[in-house]
């Protein structure tokens, strides 16, 4: 089987454009509804999240599931009625409450009021996250800065190792992956109130690395074929390069997916959305390397009618004899 990706490249571009436009539309709707393109967690906007679990070693403490209206009443009495509440666990013995930023006095007061009404909580299973608004903005800006810096670094590296147009299209593919992933999370945020936290930015950066990684492997092969057959048409060369690296692209994505699905299924709450973002991003990364970065490159070089002699930074000759 041979894949002629350049034949139907308009189709691939259309698919990607549709995915990106859907994502941007979701972000715009989200912007109107909650004032941010993605639903930000307290990492970025500040706030307090309290996760409490009843202490089931005490007699009769866990007889009933936690009643969400009781929790709501307690919060209303504390003047925190616009908080979001979630009941956790199969036995419904845990609660997660997100409020505006509380200081220590307000928080202890809330905790005391809750345990009076609902039952004693186990301190060993408590989780408290409080982030002040300033530090939230700081986390967001340093995360975005990290993204921009790594984009810059990658452009420079690929321009040095390959050529500038390679780098530009690698970054295009990468932005494609980042946008699609963000778009999916915008939709998830609208539909299931999925939030993005600082781990989401980490996921985007990791996607950046892996996506370029996929692209680079194909580019590497294009460069190699170009060097041996500088007179062949660029479309053919790109098609060949993609086909020759296809098994690798699929297998690597597959093995990484195995690891990621393991994290997604067993890795605990904190890592679930992180793994999900990576799964979406890596699948996009494999797709965009094969169908976007390569086809854009051949389109560009065809349009400019260049028979580009490649830089000979990598020596691809026959290997030395090993004894």
């Amino acid at each position: 089987m041979k894949l002629s990706i350049n034949q139907s490249r308009k189709l691939w571009w259309a698919i990607s454009a549709a995915a990106i436009i859907t994502g941007i539309a979701a972000m715009l709707i989200s912007w109107q509804q909650i004032g941010a393109p993605l639903r930000p967690s307290l990492d970025f906007v500040g706030g307090t999240r309290l996760q409490l679990e009843r202490d089931c070693t005490q007699p009769n403490n866990c007889a009933q599931p936690i009643d969400i209206t009781a929790v709501r009443e307690v919060l209303a009495a504390q003047g925190l009625s616009n908080s979001s509440i979630q009941i956790l666990g199969q036995e419904q013995q845990g609660i997660s409450i997100r409020t505006s930023t509380l200081d220590v006095e307000q928080r202890t007061q809330l905790q005391d009021a809750l345990s009076q009404r609902i039952g004693a909580f186990a301190p060993q299973s408590t989780q408290i996250d409080t982030v002040g608004p300033t530090i939230g903005r700081q986390l967001l800006s340093s995360g975005l800065l990290a993204l921009i810096v790594s984009f810059g670094g990658i452009i420079v590296y690929i321009s040095l190792r390959f050529q500038l147009d390679f780098a530009v299209f690698a970054i295009t593919a990468l932005l494609h992956d980042v946008f699609v992933t963000a778009g999916v999370f915008a939709i998830l945020g609208l539909v299931w109130s999925v939030e993005v936290d600082s781990l989401f930015i980490v996921a985007l950066l990791t996607i950046t690395g892996f996506s370029v990684n996929d692209t680079v492997v194909i580019y590497d092969r294009i460069r190699e074929i170009l060097k041996v057959n500088p007179d062949r048409s660029i479309s053919e060369i790109v098609d060949d390069a993609v086909n020759q690296t296809l098994a690798r692209s699929i297998n690597t994505t597959l093995t990484t997916m195995l690891a990621l699905f393991a994290i997604f299924l067993f890795g605990g709450e904190t890592l679930k959305n992180f793994a999900l973002a990576l799964i979406i991003g890596f699948i996009c990364g494999a797709y965009s390397s094969i169908f976007i970065a390569s086809t854009l490159l051949s389109w560009w070089r065809e349009r400019n009618g260049q028979r580009l002699a490649t830089q000979s930074t990598a020596v691809i000759d026959s290997p030395p004899e090993d004894t």
Partner: protein, 471 residues
Amino acid sequence: MQRQRSLLALIVVLAIAAIVAIARIPIPLGLDLQGGSQLTIQVQPTAEIPQITDRELEAVQRVIENRINGLGVSEPVVQTVGQDQILVQLPGVSNPEQAERVLGGTAQLEFRTQRPGTEAQLFAEQQVRLGLLAKQQELRATNNTTEIQQNQEAIERSNAAIAQLFESTNPPLTGRNLEDAYGQPTQAPNNWEVGIRFDSPGAELFAQLTRDLAGTGRSIGIFLDNELISAPTVGPQFAQTGITGGSAVITGRFTAQEANDLAIQLRGGALPVPVEIVENRTVGATLGRDSIQRSIYAGIGGLILVLIFMVVYYRVPGIIADLSLCVYALLTWASFALLGVTLTLPGIAGFILSIGMAVDANVLIFERTREELRAGKSLYRSVESGFYRAFSSILDSNVTTWIACAALFWLGAGLVRGFALTLALGIAVSMFTAITCSRTLMFIAISLPSLRKPELYCPNLPTVRRAEVAR
């Protein structure tokens, strides 16, 4: 062949060393895994101190350390972050309310006079306190929380008893009046003293205080947050006027470090900068344990799936890849232990992901080997060029991931850095194992006659070619 043998020996030695390192050096767990409280404290500038410098931050850090030590938590960590923040980690604390109350608020430094007739009592109490503090040091190493707590209460009683022996001046001489404190060497070698300087109301109060105490044998009690940090006496020569001019030195057999430490404490107490807790991340111990268990399942589950996939798809090279993946996992884990990486939940995720990267290097090589085999090359040549030609792809793809990791490491904070570090380390080790371990094992495999069958390396080779290869 000789080279392969010595490389194999090297790999075996490294693997054994890695096992020893893993067994000997425990990897410290982050607070999200062992449970505990992490507080970020923001030092706020005021009209008097518009800019927080390193000197001020250091002084505030010392004040925070003093207060943390008063909490009786085992192995607390206090470190500065950036320009104006201090990070406090309290392992095992799942109700940080007490810590939050103690840590907020400005430091209270006060110079008090010792009550008459309490000299012997002060000496005795100080001995008791020294004993308790020494005991606390020992206890901290044992992690015995209840005993630490009990001993801490004893220390507090002792502190209170000592504070009873002193009285405030009228009006009180506090840190507000202290302009500066600094360690300086004396004329005698290896002997240091602490210079202090007061503003003019402070100078007057200090002169009065020292005149009262001069030559009596009673001490000035310097209290930071109600805890006695120094009790210097005043020489009889000041009995007439007291120490005037607002400057004084505290002498004693100070080393440079002790003098600086006291000076920093004094400066911290003199600082009118308020501090605020801007971030609190607390994870209960049970939750942490849950996370570890789950991530171990995730890691092992992922690894096993990958190992099975490799053998099924790549056959003999797959087995070799699996072996080198195991070596990879050992070496990476050992490098975490040796470099003192603190393991966090995102860190574990980074490690599991790096397994994916390690597989990628092998996949690149084996796919290349297959291509060469299909192109009709001999088994040896195919393996050789598989490694050789895949290398530039491996290098390029790893460097780009490193760039992303570097950006994360320099600009990220806390948990994010842990992830970047483990992923970057993992990739470095994976390059090493792919080009040494996989390579060596592969050449050893093709040197064994029973394994020298191309179909074990690439299924569905065209028969004509197979005949050629066998020839």
